[in-house]
Symmetry: C2
Subunit: 231 residues, 2 copies
Amino acid sequence: MPETLITTAAPAAPPRASSIRPPRPASRSRVVGENLTLLYEGGRNRALYRVVDGCVVLSQLLNDGRRQITDVLGPGRLFGFTIDGRNIATAETLSIARIEPLGDADLNATNPAVASELKTTLHRMQIHATLLGRKTASEKVASALVELSRLFNRTGRNGAARLSFHLHLTRADLADWLGLTVETVSRCLNRFKREGLIDFSHPKTMRVLDPERLEATAGFTRQQTGETTRP
Amino acid sequence: MPETLITTAAPAAPPRASSIRPPRPASRSRVVGENLTLLYEGGRNRALYRVVDGCVVLSQLLNDGRRQITDVLGPGRLFGFTIDGRNIATAETLSIARIEPLGDADLNATNPAVASELKTTLHRMQIHATLLGRKTASEKVASALVELSRLFNRTGRNGAARLSFHLHLTRADLADWLGLTVETVSRCLNRFKREGLIDFSHPKTMRVLDPERLEATAGFTRQQTGETTRP
DNA sequence: CGTCTACTTGACACGCATCAAAATTGGTGG
DNA sequence: CCACCAATTTTGATGCGTGTCAAGTAGACG
């Protein structure tokens, strides 16, 4: 039984520069966001980890500090893949998360479970690339809500989804995940709230009021719906 | 020795709808682009392939026809990964390409070479996600040129790079890869030409005149440059 | 209660999409 | 080789979505 790590919030760090626009003057010394624990960065560790509870994000940075979150991991997901001993991405935990290292026997990429995880992550990345390159701001935010509600929704004691979930990401994290700015994310969320798609009193506690309309707003890839047209 | 497939251009198909904007009226019956051979689409085949020569692209589609090319494969790359028997992405060859199927013995994802390819692809996807979400149009186009010149440049007989390469992608493909429109791609390319970064007389034959300035225009991830700042 | 940070909201600007049309390239048949 | 048509690429004019800048509000924590 592997030991379980419990990571907690790190002390505040200077703000980072994001946004989509050209090189900003900013070039901060600390690259991770506030309230985060940096698990490793660009090739420091050699173990694979499993998320037990909470939320871990993978990210990349440009030289001037612009950040892209490439994946959001919920319970069960593995991370820490390396190429030639260097980690593929930077990983951070959001608020409190429990992670456990995989045993040495499982560290090999030829392990079927690990290979399967690689393919899953790759598939998710493809879908996310489509979101980043081809979706509008509204579609992006709606997609994120659908995705996060699936990852983190708590089922009631009767087993039915409550459609209320804890948003582990800040608005800035969402922006860095979706290729937007904090302001645009905030505007979309509040518009959805006005339109009755979602509700939130606390900014981190989301409730989906109209899942169908939300999913329609999110847009779909053809594969996801199974539709494939041929002449 | 596995047989080698030679794929050629397919007959013309109706145009597809791309662009980043909301649902377009368009919803065409044929989903692949012109002059392309569709290798498989959303879960039709079970073999892994290796690109021997030419260029293969992986793509995804949204319901209304918007397309995102998620990766561009040059010689040596593998593709055709599946999850539960369904292909992760749609693959198409551009113009003429030679591909060969991997032997049955190699089909297992636990094969080290296959696992390594998965990680390589995943790493490339992360870098591309950063491009899609956080780079400007100029940075995107410059990055694409740098990347394609590495994939397809022909070394002279003395072994020195000639920095001239065949652009397998059309402007529309580039746009779908970079999350832009055809017009923006064309404008960037011609601006780079005016500024002396690149040159091309034929639209498909690119020559890099100033690799350093081009790479500077492309921007870098911190990992790529090896730079990592800590407090 | 004061301070700090995250979040929200408004006014404005600009990069890139959109729309339109001309120029170039590619292919086919005479 | 040239004429002709379709597709691609280029170029210009214009508009919109989203980024930028700025100010205000709300929670969290001492």
